[in-house]
């Protein structure tokens, strides 16, 4: 009775090597101890791991050392039996012991084989590729495709999908993925459109068109006739032509709103259109647009024509003729009025004395000042036309009679009525009582005192029948009440139909430029208007461009840098330039009149 051990190993070439050993007796010890019958070198095997004893015919008992287990026929066990009739498998660590079926009392054949590499596994097989990160990292290529697909899905497919899908869900408040395409925040005024790209970008792959702007900005009109605009553009050099060609290739037609009004520049105010956009055309335009009446201009400080106010240069019968004349030509204004500013503003002349006398009644100062006669418009921008009754009559009284406490005055603006009133007066007042009018203590130029003295003179000459006629003639003659200020048309011989030439004042001299008196209030009127030296009403007291330039420079010069847009407006012509309005709205400018003159319709001019 013995155990026959057949230890199987493999050569490097894979050949099987079998060594046979014979263990006499009924007991077989298994362990790492070399003294064991079955010596297993695996360190997972205990020195004395298990024992197999023949406990009866055809039956082997297996007993592992305390606390140890073996794998018997695939099951872990600390003890068990093997029926020799069927044989059995014991597995300890990396070794397998196969008990071959045998007769009940025959020798037991046992094949001992190392079935796994055990602890000498992976490292021995390691090759130098394992030094590289490749062995522990996912491939670069799958990573690359994954990332690329992720980016495309989130930043391209998702927005496109929602854009195509949006028609069905117009006012959704959910996140609009095309926000991820926003190249920069919209300006403050357009901030509400940030979730509505299609408001401006109406069609995919089509550049923003003016119609999109005009769907809200309905009153904006063109600057000028498109054909003239096109001709006014500066000739393109090669580089300009190339750029234009490229732009047109990509569907960017020139002249669109967005050429000047750029967007996506951040959440600030919409950037003001730079002066260059004006200067491009307006410098050298006379050459390109031969028939234009506009002078070349590129910068207020450096290149701007002298102002050309609309001046009342003459009369066509009763109709004033206005004409734009450069201030450089020293134009005269023909209002048909006599009014020496110097006389009225003199500090010690008769006008000043008169003012001092009437101080209590009208609040005049030591001498007359501009504001005593000139009344600004309610918005403070300009001045109201001078009005005889309101602005002159304080001194220039037309009183000629007193009935009880009421002073009768000649009717201003109606010479026929003056003639009739005076006739009536003389009819009702016998010439013997001229002193009835003597009650007035005041003496005023053009006053009835003159009329009265004339009357006395005529009475003295005799004939009261012609008194009225003489008085009338005197009123309309030099030193007469009317003649002092007005141009009198003499009547035909034998008639008393005196006529006064009509008077007119322009209310606005510069229609294509904006000037607002209010922001200039801190300056004396005389700073700009040379009224104190003006001896004639024909003097046009508008200051020239040089006067403005003492403060106003060009786009980036002077005490007050002034772009074109400070006085001129590209789209509107009547009211406050849009730039000033915007600055006012934004609280940066308080003085500007905030009453835009509403444009009537699009397409004026």
């Amino acid at each position: 009775m013995a155990f026959v051990l057949r230890t199987v190993s493999h050569s490097a070439g894979g050949r099987e090597i079998v060594r046979t050993a014979r263990v006499e007796g009924d007991r077989l010890t298994i362990g790492r101890d070399p003294a064991c019958d079955v010596h297993l070198t695996d360190l997972a095997v205990a020195l004395r791991h298990a024992e197999v004893t023949r406990s009866g015919p055809g039956r082997l008992d297996l007993q592992a050392s305390p606390g140890l287990t073996v794998e018997l026929d695939g099951r872990k066990a600390s003890a068990g039996t093997i029926d020799l009739a069927t044989g059995g498998d014991i597995r300890i660590a990396s070794h397998a012991l196969r008990f071959m079926p045998a007769a009940a009392d025959a020798d037991v054949d046992i094949a001992v084989e190392r079935v796994t590499e055990g602890e000498r596994g992976e490292l021995a097989r390691a090759d130098e590729r394992r030094f590289s990160l490749v062995s522990v990292m996912p491939g670069k290529r799958p990573l690359a495709w994954l990332l690329a697909a992720l980016v495309l899905a989130i930043f391209f497919a998702w927005p496109v999908w929602t854009i195509l899908d949006r028609q069905e869900e117009p006012a959704a408040e959910r996140f609009h993925p095309d926000r991820m395409w926003l190249s920069g925040s919209l300006s403050q005024v357009h901030a509400g459109l940030e979730d509505n790209c299609a408001a401006c970008h109406a069609e995919p792959f089509v550049a923003v068109r003016d119609e999109s702007c005009q769907s809200c900005h309905v009153r904006v009109h063109d600057h000028a006739n498109q054909a003239r605009l096109a001709r006014a553009r500066p000739g393109l050099d090669g580089w300009g032509r190339f750029r234009l060609a490229v732009q047109e290739t990509f569907g960017l037609t020139p002249g669109r709103c967005v050429d000047c009004h750029t967007e996506h520049e951040g959440p600030q105010e919409m950037a003001p259109t730079p002066q260059r956009f004006c200067a491009d055309c307006h410098s050298g335009m006379q050459e390109r647009l031969g028939d234009t009446r506009l002078g070349d201009a590129s910068d207020f400080g450096r290149a701007h024509p002298e102002f050309q106010p609309s001046v009342l240069i003459r009369w066509d019968g009763e109709t004033p003729v206005m004409q734009r004349v450069s201030l450089g030509a020293r134009p005269h204004e023909n209002s048909n009025l006599r009014f020496p500013h110097a006389l009225h503003l003199s500090r010690d002349g008769g006008a000043a004395q008169m003012g001092r006398r009437l101080r209590g009644q009208y609040g005049f100062g030591d001498s007359l000042v501009c504001a005593d006669c000139h009344v600004p418009t309610p918005d403070g921008t300009r001045f109201q036309p001078v009005d005889m009754e309101g602005d002159c009559a304080m001194c220039h009284s037309l009183a000629f009679d007193r009935v009880g406490g009421t002073v009768r005055t000649l009717r201003h603006g109606s010479p026929e009525q003056v003639v009739a009133d005076l006739r009536e007066y003389f009819r009702g007042h016998p010439p013997a009582r001229p002193s009835v009018l003597g009650g007035g203590a005041r003496r005023r130029p053009g006053d009835i005192m003159q009329i009265r003295s004339t009357m006395q003179y005529t009475l003295a000459l005799a004939g009261s029948g012609a008194a009225a006629e003489r008085a009338i003639r005197a009123v309309f003659s030099p030193r007469g009440a009317c003649y002092d200020c007005h141009q009198v048309q003499a009547p035909p011989p034998g008639s008393l139909a005196f006529r006064i030439r009509p008077v007119a004042f322009p209310t606005r001299y510069m229609h294509n430029g904006w000037f607002d008196h209010r922001p200039h209030q801190q300056a004396e009127c005389a700073t700009c208007h040379a009224a104190e030296r003006s001896q004639s009403a024909n003097d046009l007291l508008l200051p020239g461009i040089e006067t403005c330039r003492t403060c106003h420079g060009g786009e980036s010069s002077g005490d007050v840098p002034s772009t074109c847009a400070m006085c001129h407006d590209y789209h509107e012509d009547e009211g406050v330039p849009a730039m000033l309005l915007r600055q006012r709205v934004r609280g940066r400018r308080w003085e500007t009149t905030l009453i835009p003159v509403p444009a009537q319709t699009g397409g004026r001019r």
């Binding site: 070399p34 020195l47 602890e119 992976e122 490292l123 030094f131 697909a149 391209f156 792959f205």
Partner: protein, 285 residues
């Protein structure tokens, strides 16, 4: 030719080797510098109102140059598989890749007009910058780490390094035969140690605090098992040294290679973001 020969001998330790950075007297460095300068001058001179942005003529020009550069730079991935010599050698190509890639920092940044935000456009820019930064890292490690790699290996090849550990394992196995089960279990701990099992983070950090060999060594020193155990301790100590060499090698290799795992995938992400950037611009033209 004589002067060239003289120049070569002066290279000294490098011998006739000329790295891709110094390829042909910094030819591509000069080209890239020129490109950057041209872009900078154009940026300074061009009158773009109200401020520079990607949508001006200069912006589109710089953007086009940048996009084409990105695509060309990506081609190195294909080109590198064919190692050639001559005018368009792989080395020249690599040199151009490095320097033109760096000039992209200038070109692309000027293209943005310094207007960045949370959008697909800035995403493309940011990804591109990450790719460039990882590339810079790559150049830096290629310039410094190969020396460290060879000094670490100390004339041993990589298979020899592995072999050293395998041999120590075999000796451990033999030396541990007389040990008790508990002590043998400690030795088995060491035998189970596979330094190559360390993942990216551990390789980069060089942190092997959970090394089983180290643990085995510590436990083994604590046992009082006589001469057999002492022999095992010696072997475990030797194994520690051998493992450390492998790990240093692993760390240097990881440092050398890790940037490509950023550079390459992010390049593709950049191209995807670039495509989204360009199409979105034209979509909302």
């Amino acid at each position: 030719m004589a002067s060239r020969g003289a120049q070569r001998t002066r290279l000294g330790s490098g011998g006739s080797h000329e790295g891709f950075l110094r390829h042909r007297g910094y030819r591509w460095a000069k080209a890239a510098l020129l490109l950057s300068l041209a872009a900078g001058v154009a940026y300074a001179m061009a009158d773009v109102q109200p401020r520079h942005n990607g949508g001006s003529w200069l912006g589109y020009t710089l953007g086009t140059i940048g996009a084409l550069l990105i695509l060309w730079l990506t081609m190195l991935g294909l080109r590198k598989r064919a190692m050639t010599r001559g005018r368009w050698s792989l080395k020249g190509w690599t040199s151009a890749h490095v320097y033109l890639g760096l000039s992209l920092v200038v070109v692309a940044t000027l293209h943005t007009g310094f207007q960045l935000g949370l959008n697909v456009h800035t995403l493309a820019y940011a990804l591109m910058m990450l790719v460039i930064v990882s590339g810079l890292y790559g150049i830096a490690v290629y310039a410094t780490l190969p020396d460290a790699l060879s000094s670490n290996s100390a004339e041993t090849t990589r298979p020899q390094m592995i072999d050293a550990v395998v041999k120590l394992d075999q000796q451990l196995q033999i030396a541990a035969q007389p040990l008790s089960s508990d002590d043998a279990a400690i030795v088995r701990l060491s035998l189970e140690e596979d330094p190559f099992r360390a993942g990216l983070v551990r390789r980069l950090a060089g942190n092997h605090s959970n090394c089983r060999n180290a643990r085995a060594l510590k436990l083994m020193r604590a046992t009082e098992a006589g001469a057999d155990a002492a022999r095992v301790v010696d072997l475990l100590e030797s194994k520690s040294v051998a493992l450390a060499r492998i790990r240093r090698h692993l760390r240097i290799r990881a440092l050398l290679e890790v940037w490509l795992y950023v550079h390459v995938p992010l390049t593709f992400a950049t191209i995807a973001a670039l495509a989204a950037h360009i199409v979105s611009v034209f979509f909302y033209w």
